[in-house]
Protein backbone atom coordinates (compact mmCIF):
# COMPACT_ATOMS: atom_id res chain seq x y z
CA UNK A 1 0.00 0.00 0.00
CA UNK A 2 2.29 2.68 -1.19
CA UNK A 3 -0.08 5.50 -1.76
CA UNK A 4 -3.05 5.29 0.54
CA UNK A 5 -6.08 7.47 -0.18
CA UNK A 6 -6.63 8.07 3.47
CA UNK A 7 -3.98 7.90 6.06
CA UNK A 8 -4.61 8.35 9.76
CA UNK A 9 -1.68 8.58 12.11
CA UNK A 10 -1.86 8.49 15.89
CA UNK A 11 -5.28 10.03 15.97
CA UNK A 12 -6.31 11.14 19.42
CA UNK A 13 -9.79 12.38 20.21
CA UNK A 14 -10.66 13.87 23.54
CA UNK A 15 -13.77 15.12 25.23
CA UNK A 16 -13.28 18.09 27.44
CA UNK A 17 -15.21 17.39 30.62
CA UNK A 18 -15.25 19.09 33.92
CA UNK A 19 -13.14 16.27 35.32
CA UNK A 20 -10.47 16.85 32.72
CA UNK A 21 -10.12 15.51 29.22
CA UNK A 22 -11.57 12.11 28.44
CA UNK A 23 -9.49 10.28 25.90
CA UNK A 24 -11.91 8.54 23.56
CA UNK A 25 -9.49 7.65 20.77
CA UNK A 26 -5.86 7.12 21.46
CA UNK A 27 -3.21 6.53 18.83
CA UNK A 28 -5.44 5.28 16.09
CA UNK A 29 -3.53 4.72 12.86
CA UNK A 30 -4.89 3.26 9.68
CA UNK A 31 -4.68 3.54 5.90
CA UNK A 32 -7.22 2.97 3.20
CA UNK A 33 -6.37 2.63 -0.46
CA UNK A 34 -8.65 3.59 -3.27
CA UNK A 35 -11.09 0.84 -4.13
CA UNK A 36 -10.56 -0.87 -0.84
CA UNK A 37 -13.05 -1.71 1.87
CA UNK A 38 -11.63 -1.38 5.33
CA UNK A 39 -13.78 -2.85 8.03
CA UNK A 40 -13.76 -1.48 11.55
CA UNK A 41 -15.16 -3.76 14.22
CA UNK A 42 -15.38 -3.53 17.94
CA UNK A 43 -17.79 -3.45 20.78
CA UNK A 44 -20.18 -0.68 21.43
CA UNK A 45 -18.29 2.33 22.71
CA UNK A 46 -14.97 1.17 21.29
CA UNK A 47 -14.67 4.36 19.31
CA UNK A 48 -15.65 3.21 15.85
CA UNK A 49 -18.06 6.03 15.12
CA UNK A 50 -15.72 8.60 16.59
CA UNK A 51 -13.02 7.51 14.20
CA UNK A 52 -15.35 8.08 11.28
CA UNK A 53 -16.59 11.41 12.60
CA UNK A 54 -13.07 12.62 13.28
CA UNK A 55 -12.08 11.88 9.71
CA UNK A 56 -14.99 13.76 8.21
CA UNK A 57 -14.58 16.54 10.74
CA UNK A 58 -17.98 16.31 12.37
CA UNK A 59 -17.06 15.67 15.97
CA UNK A 60 -19.60 17.34 18.19
CA UNK A 61 -18.14 19.59 20.82
CA UNK A 62 -16.85 19.02 23.44
CA UNK A 63 -15.20 16.30 21.35
CA UNK A 64 -12.15 17.39 19.39
CA UNK A 65 -9.05 16.05 17.74
CA UNK A 66 -6.27 16.37 20.25
CA UNK A 67 -3.40 14.85 18.34
CA UNK A 68 -2.21 12.95 15.34
CA UNK A 69 -2.95 13.70 11.76
CA UNK A 70 -5.32 12.73 9.03
CA UNK A 71 -4.30 12.93 5.40
CA UNK A 72 -6.45 12.56 2.37
CA UNK A 73 -4.50 12.11 -0.84
CA UNK A 74 -1.51 13.15 1.14
CA UNK A 75 -3.06 16.47 2.16
CA UNK A 76 -3.57 17.12 5.82
CA UNK A 77 -7.24 17.61 6.60
CA UNK A 78 -7.50 17.42 10.37
CA UNK A 79 -6.52 21.03 10.85
CA UNK A 80 -8.39 22.59 7.94
CA UNK A 81 -10.55 25.62 8.61
CA UNK A 82 -14.27 24.88 8.80
CA UNK A 83 -15.03 26.32 5.38
CA UNK A 84 -12.32 24.26 3.67
CA UNK A 85 -13.42 21.14 5.45
CA UNK A 86 -16.97 21.71 4.33
CA UNK A 87 -15.81 21.68 0.72
CA UNK A 88 -14.33 18.25 1.22
CA UNK A 89 -17.41 16.83 2.81
CA UNK A 90 -19.71 15.19 0.36
CA UNK A 91 -17.26 15.75 -2.48
CA UNK A 92 -14.17 13.90 -1.28
CA UNK A 93 -15.53 12.17 1.80
CA UNK A 94 -19.07 10.96 2.22
CA UNK A 95 -20.63 9.43 5.27
CA UNK A 96 -23.61 7.20 5.94
CA UNK A 97 -25.09 6.90 9.39
CA UNK A 98 -26.53 3.98 11.19
CA UNK A 99 -30.15 4.84 11.40
CA UNK A 100 -31.86 5.28 8.04
CA UNK A 101 -35.04 6.34 9.82
CA UNK A 102 -33.56 9.49 11.25
CA UNK A 103 -30.97 10.40 8.64
CA UNK A 104 -33.46 12.06 6.36
CA UNK A 105 -35.32 15.24 7.11
CA UNK A 106 -38.92 14.13 7.49
CA UNK A 107 -40.29 17.39 6.08
CA UNK A 108 -38.42 17.27 2.78
CA UNK A 109 -38.96 15.11 -0.26
CA UNK A 110 -36.36 12.58 -1.27
CA UNK A 111 -35.79 14.63 -4.40
CA UNK A 112 -35.24 17.81 -2.39
CA UNK A 113 -32.51 16.09 -0.43
CA UNK A 114 -30.81 14.84 -3.55
CA UNK A 115 -31.12 17.93 -5.70
CA UNK A 116 -29.97 20.15 -2.89
CA UNK A 117 -26.90 18.04 -2.38
CA UNK A 118 -26.10 17.70 -6.07
CA UNK A 119 -26.41 21.45 -6.55
CA UNK A 120 -24.10 22.02 -3.64
CA UNK A 121 -21.40 20.01 -5.37
CA UNK A 122 -21.80 20.83 -9.03
CA UNK A 123 -22.70 23.53 -11.48
CA UNK A 124 -25.72 21.67 -12.81
CA UNK A 125 -29.07 23.30 -13.39
CA UNK A 126 -31.85 22.15 -11.10
CA UNK A 127 -33.31 20.18 -13.95
CA UNK A 128 -30.08 18.38 -14.68
CA UNK A 129 -29.65 17.82 -10.97
CA UNK A 130 -32.98 16.13 -10.84
CA UNK A 131 -32.05 13.86 -13.70
CA UNK A 132 -28.87 12.96 -11.98
CA UNK A 133 -30.79 12.31 -8.78
CA UNK A 134 -33.01 9.86 -10.61
CA UNK A 135 -29.97 8.18 -12.08
CA UNK A 136 -28.44 7.87 -8.62
CA UNK A 137 -31.57 6.37 -7.19
CA UNK A 138 -31.73 3.76 -9.84
CA UNK A 139 -28.07 3.06 -9.32
CA UNK A 140 -28.65 2.16 -5.67
CA UNK A 141 -31.46 -0.09 -6.74
CA UNK A 142 -34.63 1.85 -6.12
CA UNK A 143 -37.30 0.67 -8.51
CA UNK A 144 -39.21 3.33 -10.48
CA UNK A 145 -36.99 6.15 -9.26
CA UNK A 146 -38.69 8.81 -11.33
CA UNK A 147 -41.83 8.15 -9.28
CA UNK A 148 -40.26 7.62 -5.91
CA UNK A 149 -38.16 10.75 -6.10
CA UNK A 150 -41.15 12.86 -5.11
CA UNK A 151 -41.94 10.72 -2.13
CA UNK A 152 -41.27 11.63 1.48
CA UNK A 153 -38.94 9.63 3.68
CA UNK A 154 -41.73 8.10 5.74
CA UNK A 155 -43.15 6.52 2.63
CA UNK A 156 -40.02 4.40 2.24
CA UNK A 157 -39.18 1.23 4.08
CA UNK A 158 -36.00 1.01 6.12
CA UNK A 159 -34.00 -0.72 3.43
CA UNK A 160 -35.17 1.73 0.79
CA UNK A 161 -34.29 4.65 2.96
CA UNK A 162 -30.84 3.33 3.56
CA UNK A 163 -30.41 3.15 -0.20
CA UNK A 164 -31.51 6.75 -0.50
CA UNK A 165 -28.99 7.65 2.15
CA UNK A 166 -26.30 5.90 0.16
CA UNK A 167 -27.39 7.70 -2.98
CA UNK A 168 -27.12 10.96 -1.08
CA UNK A 169 -23.63 10.12 0.07
CA UNK A 170 -22.72 9.47 -3.55
CA UNK A 171 -24.01 12.76 -4.91
CA UNK A 172 -20.63 14.41 -4.78
CA UNK A 173 -18.87 11.28 -6.00
CA UNK A 174 -16.64 11.09 -2.96
CA UNK A 175 -13.42 9.14 -3.09
CA UNK A 176 -13.98 7.85 0.41
CA UNK A 177 -17.25 6.71 1.92
CA UNK A 178 -17.50 6.15 5.63
CA UNK A 179 -20.37 3.82 6.34
CA UNK A 180 -21.23 3.74 10.04
CA UNK A 181 -23.18 0.57 10.71
CA UNK A 182 -25.24 0.87 7.53
CA UNK A 183 -27.02 -2.44 8.05
CA UNK A 184 -27.47 -2.76 11.79
CA UNK A 185 -31.05 -1.51 11.79
CA UNK A 186 -32.07 -3.76 8.94
CA UNK A 187 -33.24 -7.32 8.62
CA UNK A 188 -30.76 -9.93 7.51
CA UNK A 189 -32.31 -10.31 4.10
CA UNK A 190 -32.18 -6.59 3.43
CA UNK A 191 -28.72 -6.38 4.91
CA UNK A 192 -27.41 -8.47 2.09
CA UNK A 193 -28.91 -6.10 -0.45
CA UNK A 194 -27.26 -3.07 1.09
CA UNK A 195 -23.92 -4.81 1.31
CA UNK A 196 -24.20 -5.62 -2.36
CA UNK A 197 -24.76 -1.94 -3.16
CA UNK A 198 -21.68 -0.95 -1.15
CA UNK A 199 -19.56 -3.52 -2.88
CA UNK A 200 -20.71 -2.31 -6.24
CA UNK A 201 -19.71 1.16 -5.19
CA UNK A 202 -16.07 0.21 -4.83
CA UNK A 203 -16.07 -1.79 -7.98
CA UNK A 204 -17.76 0.73 -10.22
CA UNK A 205 -16.58 4.02 -8.79
CA UNK A 206 -13.30 2.89 -7.37
CA UNK A 207 -14.23 4.53 -4.08
CA UNK A 208 -12.67 3.56 -0.83
CA UNK A 209 -15.08 2.47 1.87
CA UNK A 210 -14.59 2.49 5.57
CA UNK A 211 -17.19 0.06 6.83
CA UNK A 212 -17.96 0.39 10.53
CA UNK A 213 -19.89 -2.40 12.13
CA UNK A 214 -19.91 -4.68 15.09
CA UNK A 215 -20.96 -7.63 13.04
CA UNK A 216 -17.96 -9.79 12.24
CA UNK A 217 -20.05 -11.65 9.71
CA UNK A 218 -20.61 -8.55 7.62
CA UNK A 219 -16.92 -7.73 7.72
CA UNK A 220 -15.91 -11.20 6.82
CA UNK A 221 -18.07 -11.08 3.80
CA UNK A 222 -17.44 -7.56 2.63
CA UNK A 223 -14.16 -6.07 3.71
CA UNK A 224 -10.67 -6.46 2.34
CA UNK A 225 -8.95 -5.54 5.53
CA UNK A 226 -10.25 -5.10 9.05
CA UNK A 227 -9.28 -3.13 12.11
CA UNK A 228 -10.42 -4.40 15.49
CA UNK A 229 -10.96 -1.67 18.05
CA UNK A 230 -11.07 -1.89 21.78
CA UNK A 231 -11.47 0.98 24.22
CA UNK A 232 -10.46 3.68 21.79
CA UNK A 233 -7.51 1.83 20.33
CA UNK A 234 -6.89 -0.39 17.39
CA UNK A 235 -5.78 -3.70 18.76
CA UNK A 236 -5.37 -5.54 15.52
CA UNK A 237 -5.41 -4.68 11.88
CA UNK A 238 -4.91 -6.86 8.86
CA UNK A 239 -6.41 -8.87 6.04
CA UNK A 240 -9.90 -10.05 6.85
CA UNK A 241 -9.32 -13.65 6.03
CA UNK A 242 -6.36 -13.80 8.36
CA UNK A 243 -7.92 -11.88 11.21
CA UNK A 244 -11.06 -13.97 11.10
CA UNK A 245 -9.35 -17.28 10.82
CA UNK A 246 -6.46 -16.70 13.20
CA UNK A 247 -6.77 -13.55 15.24
CA UNK A 248 -3.59 -12.46 16.96
CA UNK A 249 -4.74 -10.22 19.75
CA UNK A 250 -6.27 -12.06 22.69
CA UNK A 251 -9.29 -9.78 22.51
CA UNK A 252 -9.82 -10.52 18.85
CA UNK A 253 -9.42 -14.17 19.59
CA UNK A 254 -11.96 -14.01 22.39
CA UNK A 255 -14.32 -12.13 20.16
CA UNK A 256 -14.15 -14.67 17.39
CA UNK A 257 -14.69 -17.50 19.77
CA UNK A 258 -17.67 -15.86 21.40
CA UNK A 259 -19.66 -15.67 18.20
CA UNK A 260 -22.08 -18.53 17.87
CA UNK A 261 -22.08 -20.00 14.41
CA UNK A 262 -24.48 -21.92 12.26
CA UNK A 263 -21.99 -24.63 11.92
CA UNK A 264 -22.86 -26.58 14.96
CA UNK A 265 -23.81 -26.50 18.53
CA UNK A 266 -21.12 -26.18 21.12
CA UNK A 267 -21.68 -26.92 24.77
CA UNK A 268 -20.65 -23.47 25.89
CA UNK A 269 -19.62 -20.37 24.05
CA UNK A 270 -16.20 -19.11 24.85
CA UNK A 271 -16.59 -15.90 26.76
CA UNK A 272 -14.42 -13.01 27.71
CA UNK A 273 -15.06 -12.19 31.32
CA UNK A 274 -15.95 -8.64 32.39
CA UNK A 275 -16.76 -5.73 30.16
CA UNK A 276 -14.98 -3.03 28.28
CA UNK A 277 -13.80 -0.34 30.70
CA UNK A 278 -15.40 3.06 30.70
CA UNK A 279 -13.35 5.80 29.11
CA UNK A 280 -12.85 7.38 32.49
CA UNK A 281 -11.41 4.21 33.92
CA UNK A 282 -9.14 2.80 31.27
CA UNK A 283 -6.42 0.89 33.04
CA UNK A 284 -2.84 1.87 32.69
CA UNK A 285 -0.96 -0.33 30.27
CA UNK A 286 -2.99 -2.45 27.93
CA UNK A 287 -6.65 -1.57 28.11
CA UNK A 288 -7.57 -5.21 27.73
CA UNK A 289 -5.22 -6.50 30.37
CA UNK A 290 -7.80 -6.91 33.17
CA UNK A 291 -9.85 -9.24 31.01
CA UNK A 292 -6.96 -10.89 29.24
CA UNK A 293 -6.27 -14.52 30.14
CA UNK A 294 -2.73 -14.13 28.91
CA UNK A 295 -1.81 -10.86 30.50
CA UNK A 296 1.49 -10.60 32.26
CA UNK A 297 3.08 -7.88 34.32
CA UNK A 298 4.19 -5.68 31.48
CA UNK A 299 0.69 -5.57 30.08
CA UNK A 300 -0.50 -3.86 33.23
CA UNK A 301 2.07 -1.10 33.23
CA UNK A 302 3.07 -0.40 29.69
CA UNK A 303 0.84 0.27 26.75
CA UNK A 304 1.61 -1.90 23.77
CA UNK A 305 2.00 -0.12 20.45
CA UNK A 306 0.80 -1.67 17.20
CA UNK A 307 3.43 -4.27 16.50
CA UNK A 308 3.89 -5.65 13.06
CA UNK A 309 3.38 -9.36 12.86
CA UNK A 310 3.73 -10.58 9.32
CA UNK A 311 1.54 -8.40 7.19
CA UNK A 312 -0.70 -7.70 10.14
CA UNK A 313 -0.30 -5.57 13.18
CA UNK A 314 -1.43 -6.22 16.72
CA UNK A 315 -1.15 -4.12 19.84
CA UNK A 316 -0.05 -6.81 22.21
CA UNK A 317 3.13 -7.43 24.09
CA UNK A 318 2.87 -11.09 23.19
CA UNK A 319 4.27 -10.13 19.86
CA UNK A 320 7.11 -8.07 21.12
CA UNK A 321 9.96 -10.40 20.22
CA UNK A 322 12.03 -9.56 23.23
CA UNK A 323 9.48 -10.13 25.91
CA UNK A 324 6.97 -12.57 24.67
CA UNK A 325 6.68 -15.87 26.46
CA UNK A 326 7.83 -18.43 23.99
CA UNK A 327 4.70 -20.52 24.05
CA UNK A 328 2.23 -18.03 22.63
CA UNK A 329 4.38 -17.01 19.73
CA UNK A 330 3.54 -20.27 18.14
CA UNK A 331 0.09 -19.07 17.39
CA UNK A 332 1.53 -16.65 14.93
CA UNK A 333 3.40 -19.11 12.94
Amino acid sequence: MTNPLLSVRDLRVEFATRRGPLVALDGVSLDIAAGEILGIVGESGAGKSLTGLAIIGLLDPPGHIAGGEIRLDGRRIDNLPAAEMRKLRGRRIGMIFQDPLTSLNPLLRIGDHLVETILAHSALTPKQARERAIALLSEVGIPAPEKRIDGYPHEFSGGMRQRVVIALALCGEPALVIADEPTTALDVSVQAQIIAVLKKLTRVHGAAVMLITHDMGVIAETADRVAVMYAGRIVEIGKVSEVVRAPLHPYARGLMAAIPTLEGRVARLAQIPGAMPRLSAIPRGCAFSPRCPEAFDRCRVERPPLLTVGDRSAACWLYDRGHAPAMTTEIVS
Binding site: Q271, P273, G274, A275, P290
Partner: protein, 318 residues
Protein backbone atom coordinates in the same frame (compact mmCIF):
# COMPACT_ATOMS: atom_id res chain seq x y z
CA UNK B 1 -26.28 -23.38 42.60
CA UNK B 2 -23.84 -23.00 39.81
CA UNK B 3 -20.64 -21.16 39.99
CA UNK B 4 -21.04 -17.56 39.01
CA UNK B 5 -20.60 -17.29 35.29
CA UNK B 6 -18.29 -14.34 35.65
CA UNK B 7 -16.58 -12.78 38.56
CA UNK B 8 -18.49 -10.07 40.41
CA UNK B 9 -18.85 -6.78 38.71
CA UNK B 10 -15.80 -4.72 38.25
CA UNK B 11 -17.45 -1.48 39.28
CA UNK B 12 -15.65 0.12 42.18
CA UNK B 13 -17.88 -0.48 45.13
CA UNK B 14 -16.44 1.53 47.99
CA UNK B 15 -19.26 3.80 49.16
CA UNK B 16 -18.32 7.44 48.86
CA UNK B 17 -19.18 10.30 51.19
CA UNK B 18 -22.28 12.33 50.59
CA UNK B 19 -20.26 15.39 49.66
CA UNK B 20 -18.18 13.32 47.32
CA UNK B 21 -21.24 12.00 45.60
CA UNK B 22 -22.72 15.46 45.47
CA UNK B 23 -19.65 16.86 43.79
CA UNK B 24 -19.84 14.00 41.36
CA UNK B 25 -23.47 14.57 40.56
CA UNK B 26 -23.97 15.99 37.08
CA UNK B 27 -26.86 18.17 38.14
CA UNK B 28 -24.91 19.78 40.93
CA UNK B 29 -21.90 20.19 38.72
CA UNK B 30 -23.82 21.86 35.94
CA UNK B 31 -25.39 24.09 38.54
CA UNK B 32 -22.05 25.14 39.91
CA UNK B 33 -20.55 25.63 36.48
CA UNK B 34 -22.67 28.65 35.63
CA UNK B 35 -22.16 31.80 37.60
CA UNK B 36 -25.56 33.13 36.63
CA UNK B 37 -27.27 30.01 37.82
CA UNK B 38 -25.42 30.04 41.11
CA UNK B 39 -26.36 33.68 41.59
CA UNK B 40 -29.98 32.89 40.74
CA UNK B 41 -29.92 30.01 43.16
CA UNK B 42 -28.48 32.13 45.91
CA UNK B 43 -30.97 34.91 45.33
CA UNK B 44 -33.85 32.48 45.33
CA UNK B 45 -32.57 30.95 48.52
CA UNK B 46 -32.18 34.33 50.18
CA UNK B 47 -35.64 35.41 49.13
CA UNK B 48 -37.08 32.10 50.30
CA UNK B 49 -35.41 32.47 53.65
CA UNK B 50 -36.52 36.07 53.89
CA UNK B 51 -40.06 34.95 53.23
CA UNK B 52 -39.94 32.11 55.71
CA UNK B 53 -38.39 34.18 58.45
CA UNK B 54 -40.23 37.38 57.63
CA UNK B 55 -41.79 37.63 61.10
CA UNK B 56 -38.32 37.52 62.62
CA UNK B 57 -36.68 39.93 60.21
CA UNK B 58 -39.40 42.49 59.69
CA UNK B 59 -39.46 45.34 62.19
CA UNK B 60 -43.26 45.44 62.18
CA UNK B 61 -46.07 43.17 61.19
CA UNK B 62 -47.68 44.93 58.25
CA UNK B 63 -50.69 42.62 58.45
CA UNK B 64 -51.53 43.95 61.85
CA UNK B 65 -53.52 47.12 61.27
CA UNK B 66 -52.98 48.22 64.84
CA UNK B 67 -49.30 48.82 64.23
CA UNK B 68 -49.65 50.99 61.15
CA UNK B 69 -50.10 54.62 61.98
CA UNK B 70 -51.58 56.81 59.34
CA UNK B 71 -49.43 59.62 60.64
CA UNK B 72 -46.35 57.80 59.37
CA UNK B 73 -47.69 57.38 55.90
CA UNK B 74 -45.77 58.33 52.78
CA UNK B 75 -42.46 58.64 54.57
CA UNK B 76 -39.53 58.39 52.16
CA UNK B 77 -36.87 55.69 52.63
CA UNK B 78 -34.32 56.15 55.37
CA UNK B 79 -31.55 57.13 52.97
CA UNK B 80 -33.62 59.65 51.02
CA UNK B 81 -34.33 63.21 51.97
CA UNK B 82 -37.04 63.39 54.59
CA UNK B 83 -36.55 59.76 55.51
CA UNK B 84 -37.28 58.38 58.93
CA UNK B 85 -34.74 56.05 60.57
CA UNK B 86 -37.55 53.74 61.58
CA UNK B 87 -38.44 52.97 57.99
CA UNK B 88 -35.66 51.53 55.92
CA UNK B 89 -37.58 51.65 52.66
CA UNK B 90 -40.12 54.26 53.67
CA UNK B 91 -43.82 53.75 54.23
CA UNK B 92 -46.85 53.48 52.03
CA UNK B 93 -50.09 55.43 52.13
CA UNK B 94 -51.25 53.55 55.21
CA UNK B 95 -48.09 54.15 57.17
CA UNK B 96 -46.99 50.60 56.60
CA UNK B 97 -43.27 49.98 56.72
CA UNK B 98 -42.38 49.07 53.14
CA UNK B 99 -39.52 46.83 54.17
CA UNK B 100 -41.79 44.77 56.37
CA UNK B 101 -44.54 44.83 53.81
CA UNK B 102 -42.18 43.53 51.15
CA UNK B 103 -40.95 40.72 53.36
CA UNK B 104 -44.49 39.66 54.17
CA UNK B 105 -45.62 40.26 50.61
CA UNK B 106 -42.85 38.02 49.36
CA UNK B 107 -44.13 35.36 51.67
CA UNK B 108 -47.65 35.69 50.34
CA UNK B 109 -46.53 35.76 46.71
CA UNK B 110 -44.38 32.70 47.15
CA UNK B 111 -47.16 30.88 48.94
CA UNK B 112 -49.55 31.66 46.13
CA UNK B 113 -46.98 30.56 43.60
CA UNK B 114 -46.17 27.35 45.37
CA UNK B 115 -49.72 26.40 46.17
CA UNK B 116 -51.02 27.11 42.71
CA UNK B 117 -48.21 25.09 41.19
CA UNK B 118 -48.96 22.28 43.62
CA UNK B 119 -52.65 22.50 42.89
CA UNK B 120 -52.26 22.64 39.12
CA UNK B 121 -49.54 20.03 39.28
CA UNK B 122 -51.59 17.63 41.36
CA UNK B 123 -54.55 17.80 39.01
CA UNK B 124 -52.45 17.80 35.88
CA UNK B 125 -50.19 14.97 36.91
CA UNK B 126 -53.05 12.79 38.08
CA UNK B 127 -55.11 13.34 34.95
CA UNK B 128 -52.05 13.07 32.74
CA UNK B 129 -51.06 9.75 34.29
CA UNK B 130 -54.56 8.38 33.96
CA UNK B 131 -55.01 9.62 30.40
CA UNK B 132 -51.63 8.39 29.28
CA UNK B 133 -51.90 5.02 30.93
CA UNK B 134 -55.47 4.09 30.14
CA UNK B 135 -55.79 5.71 26.74
CA UNK B 136 -59.03 5.15 24.85
CA UNK B 137 -62.10 7.18 25.67
CA UNK B 138 -60.95 8.18 29.15
CA UNK B 139 -57.95 9.76 27.51
CA UNK B 140 -60.15 11.40 24.91
CA UNK B 141 -62.45 12.89 27.53
CA UNK B 142 -59.60 14.19 29.65
CA UNK B 143 -57.98 15.80 26.65
CA UNK B 144 -61.24 17.43 25.58
CA UNK B 145 -61.62 18.83 29.08
CA UNK B 146 -58.13 20.15 28.67
CA UNK B 147 -59.19 21.86 25.46
CA UNK B 148 -62.05 23.54 27.26
CA UNK B 149 -59.72 24.57 30.03
CA UNK B 150 -57.31 26.12 27.58
CA UNK B 151 -59.93 28.55 26.41
CA UNK B 152 -60.02 29.97 29.93
CA UNK B 153 -56.74 31.69 30.65
CA UNK B 154 -55.94 32.38 34.29
CA UNK B 155 -57.20 35.92 34.07
CA UNK B 156 -60.61 34.86 32.92
CA UNK B 157 -60.88 32.09 35.46
CA UNK B 158 -59.92 34.37 38.28
CA UNK B 159 -62.38 37.03 37.23
CA UNK B 160 -65.16 34.49 37.07
CA UNK B 161 -64.12 32.38 39.99
CA UNK B 162 -63.77 35.33 42.29
CA UNK B 163 -67.47 36.00 41.94
CA UNK B 164 -68.39 32.37 42.30
CA UNK B 165 -66.30 31.88 45.39
CA UNK B 166 -67.66 34.91 47.10
CA UNK B 167 -71.19 33.96 46.34
CA UNK B 168 -70.69 30.42 47.56
CA UNK B 169 -68.65 31.32 50.60
CA UNK B 170 -70.72 34.23 51.61
CA UNK B 171 -69.90 34.17 55.24
CA UNK B 172 -66.19 33.82 55.13
CA UNK B 173 -64.31 37.02 54.70
CA UNK B 174 -62.48 38.06 51.60
CA UNK B 175 -59.09 37.79 53.14
CA UNK B 176 -59.70 34.08 53.43
CA UNK B 177 -61.31 33.42 50.10
CA UNK B 178 -59.03 35.56 47.95
CA UNK B 179 -56.07 33.31 48.59
CA UNK B 180 -58.04 30.23 47.66
CA UNK B 181 -59.51 31.85 44.58
CA UNK B 182 -56.11 32.87 43.34
CA UNK B 183 -54.56 29.50 43.98
CA UNK B 184 -57.40 27.68 42.30
CA UNK B 185 -57.67 29.92 39.29
CA UNK B 186 -53.97 30.16 38.64
CA UNK B 187 -53.59 26.48 39.37
CA UNK B 188 -56.41 25.61 37.01
CA UNK B 189 -54.77 27.49 34.21
CA UNK B 190 -51.67 25.38 34.71
CA UNK B 191 -52.93 21.85 34.90
CA UNK B 192 -53.31 21.30 31.18
CA UNK B 193 -49.64 21.84 30.66
CA UNK B 194 -48.77 19.23 33.26
CA UNK B 195 -51.40 16.86 32.02
CA UNK B 196 -50.17 17.03 28.44
CA UNK B 197 -46.56 16.61 29.39
CA UNK B 198 -47.21 13.80 31.82
CA UNK B 199 -49.57 12.10 29.42
CA UNK B 200 -46.94 12.17 26.71
CA UNK B 201 -44.23 10.82 28.97
CA UNK B 202 -46.57 8.24 30.43
CA UNK B 203 -47.45 6.94 27.01
CA UNK B 204 -43.76 6.46 26.38
CA UNK B 205 -43.00 5.03 29.79
CA UNK B 206 -45.90 2.63 29.93
CA UNK B 207 -44.47 0.74 26.97
CA UNK B 208 -41.08 0.55 28.56
CA UNK B 209 -40.10 -2.89 29.58
CA UNK B 210 -39.74 -2.06 33.25
CA UNK B 211 -43.44 -1.28 33.36
CA UNK B 212 -44.19 -4.52 31.55
CA UNK B 213 -42.07 -6.30 34.10
CA UNK B 214 -44.05 -4.70 36.89
CA UNK B 215 -47.27 -5.76 35.24
CA UNK B 216 -45.93 -9.28 35.01
CA UNK B 217 -45.71 -9.56 38.77
CA UNK B 218 -49.32 -8.50 38.94
CA UNK B 219 -49.08 -4.98 40.34
CA UNK B 220 -52.21 -2.90 40.12
CA UNK B 221 -52.28 -0.04 37.61
CA UNK B 222 -52.47 2.49 40.44
CA UNK B 223 -49.37 1.09 42.04
CA UNK B 224 -47.54 0.98 38.75
CA UNK B 225 -48.48 4.57 38.03
CA UNK B 226 -47.39 5.84 41.39
CA UNK B 227 -44.37 3.74 42.10
CA UNK B 228 -42.95 3.18 38.65
CA UNK B 229 -44.16 5.74 36.16
CA UNK B 230 -44.58 8.83 38.28
CA UNK B 231 -40.94 9.14 39.35
CA UNK B 232 -39.88 8.82 35.74
CA UNK B 233 -42.11 11.55 34.38
CA UNK B 234 -41.24 14.09 37.04
CA UNK B 235 -38.26 15.58 35.21
CA UNK B 236 -40.14 17.77 32.73
CA UNK B 237 -42.79 18.40 35.38
CA UNK B 238 -40.16 19.91 37.60
CA UNK B 239 -39.05 22.24 34.85
CA UNK B 240 -42.59 23.38 34.14
CA UNK B 241 -43.20 23.80 37.83
CA UNK B 242 -40.28 26.13 38.24
CA UNK B 243 -41.28 28.27 35.33
CA UNK B 244 -44.90 28.23 36.41
CA UNK B 245 -43.91 29.33 39.87
CA UNK B 246 -42.57 32.52 38.37
CA UNK B 247 -45.57 32.81 36.10
CA UNK B 248 -47.98 32.34 39.00
CA UNK B 249 -46.38 35.12 40.97
CA UNK B 250 -46.63 37.48 38.01
CA UNK B 251 -50.18 36.38 37.27
CA UNK B 252 -51.18 37.11 40.83
CA UNK B 253 -49.76 40.60 40.44
CA UNK B 254 -51.71 41.07 37.24
CA UNK B 255 -54.91 39.83 38.80
CA UNK B 256 -54.40 42.22 41.62
CA UNK B 257 -54.48 45.00 39.05
CA UNK B 258 -57.85 43.73 37.88
CA UNK B 259 -59.18 43.87 41.41
CA UNK B 260 -59.28 40.18 42.13
CA UNK B 261 -55.96 39.94 43.90
CA UNK B 262 -55.33 39.75 47.58
CA UNK B 263 -56.89 42.33 49.87
CA UNK B 264 -54.77 45.38 50.62
CA UNK B 265 -54.68 44.51 54.29
CA UNK B 266 -52.64 41.40 53.55
CA UNK B 267 -50.77 42.48 50.48
CA UNK B 268 -48.70 40.27 48.24
CA UNK B 269 -45.93 41.76 46.16
CA UNK B 270 -48.46 42.08 43.35
CA UNK B 271 -50.89 43.95 45.56
CA UNK B 272 -48.11 46.23 46.73
CA UNK B 273 -47.27 47.02 43.13
CA UNK B 274 -50.89 47.56 42.28
CA UNK B 275 -51.14 50.01 45.17
CA UNK B 276 -47.79 51.53 44.34
CA UNK B 277 -48.57 52.23 40.71
CA UNK B 278 -50.96 54.90 41.95
CA UNK B 279 -47.92 56.77 43.18
CA UNK B 280 -45.98 56.63 39.93
CA UNK B 281 -46.60 60.25 39.06
CA UNK B 282 -46.79 61.62 42.54
CA UNK B 283 -43.16 61.39 43.54
CA UNK B 284 -43.58 58.68 46.17
CA UNK B 285 -41.47 56.40 44.02
CA UNK B 286 -40.48 54.02 46.77
CA UNK B 287 -43.95 52.60 47.11
CA UNK B 288 -43.85 51.01 43.69
CA UNK B 289 -40.12 50.68 43.10
CA UNK B 290 -39.14 48.36 45.91
CA UNK B 291 -41.89 45.80 45.55
CA UNK B 292 -41.42 45.79 41.77
CA UNK B 293 -37.73 45.29 42.13
CA UNK B 294 -38.22 42.45 44.57
CA UNK B 295 -40.76 40.84 42.30
CA UNK B 296 -38.59 41.24 39.23
CA UNK B 297 -35.58 39.79 40.98
CA UNK B 298 -37.57 36.89 42.34
CA UNK B 299 -39.16 36.08 39.01
CA UNK B 300 -35.89 36.46 37.20
CA UNK B 301 -34.04 34.21 39.60
CA UNK B 302 -36.69 31.51 39.56
CA UNK B 303 -36.87 31.63 35.79
CA UNK B 304 -33.13 31.34 35.49
CA UNK B 305 -33.25 28.32 37.75
CA UNK B 306 -35.94 26.88 35.54
CA UNK B 307 -33.80 27.48 32.49
CA UNK B 308 -30.91 25.75 34.02
CA UNK B 309 -33.05 22.85 35.13
CA UNK B 310 -34.47 22.50 31.66
CA UNK B 311 -31.06 22.31 30.10
CA UNK B 312 -29.60 20.18 32.84
CA UNK B 313 -32.39 17.61 32.74
CA UNK B 314 -32.31 17.39 28.98
CA UNK B 315 -29.81 14.66 28.25
CA UNK B 316 -29.57 15.68 24.63
CA UNK B 317 -28.31 19.11 25.45
CA UNK B 318 -25.40 17.89 27.50
Amino acid sequence: MSKPAVEPSTIESAPRSFIGRLADNDLVASFLSSKITVAAGLITLILLLAAVFAPLIAPTNPFNPATNFLIDSLTPPRFAAGGDPRFLLGTDDQGRDMWSAILYGLRVSLLIGIFSVLFGGAIGITLGLIAGYTGGWIDAIIMRIADVQLTFPAILIALLLDGVAQALLKNSNREGTAFGVLVVSIGLSFWVQYARTVRGSTMVEKNRDYVQAARLVGLSPARILVRHILPNVMGPVLVIATINLALAIITEATLSFLGVGLPPTQPSLGTLIRIGQNFLFSGEWWIVTFPSLTLAILVLAVNLLGDWLRDALNPRLK
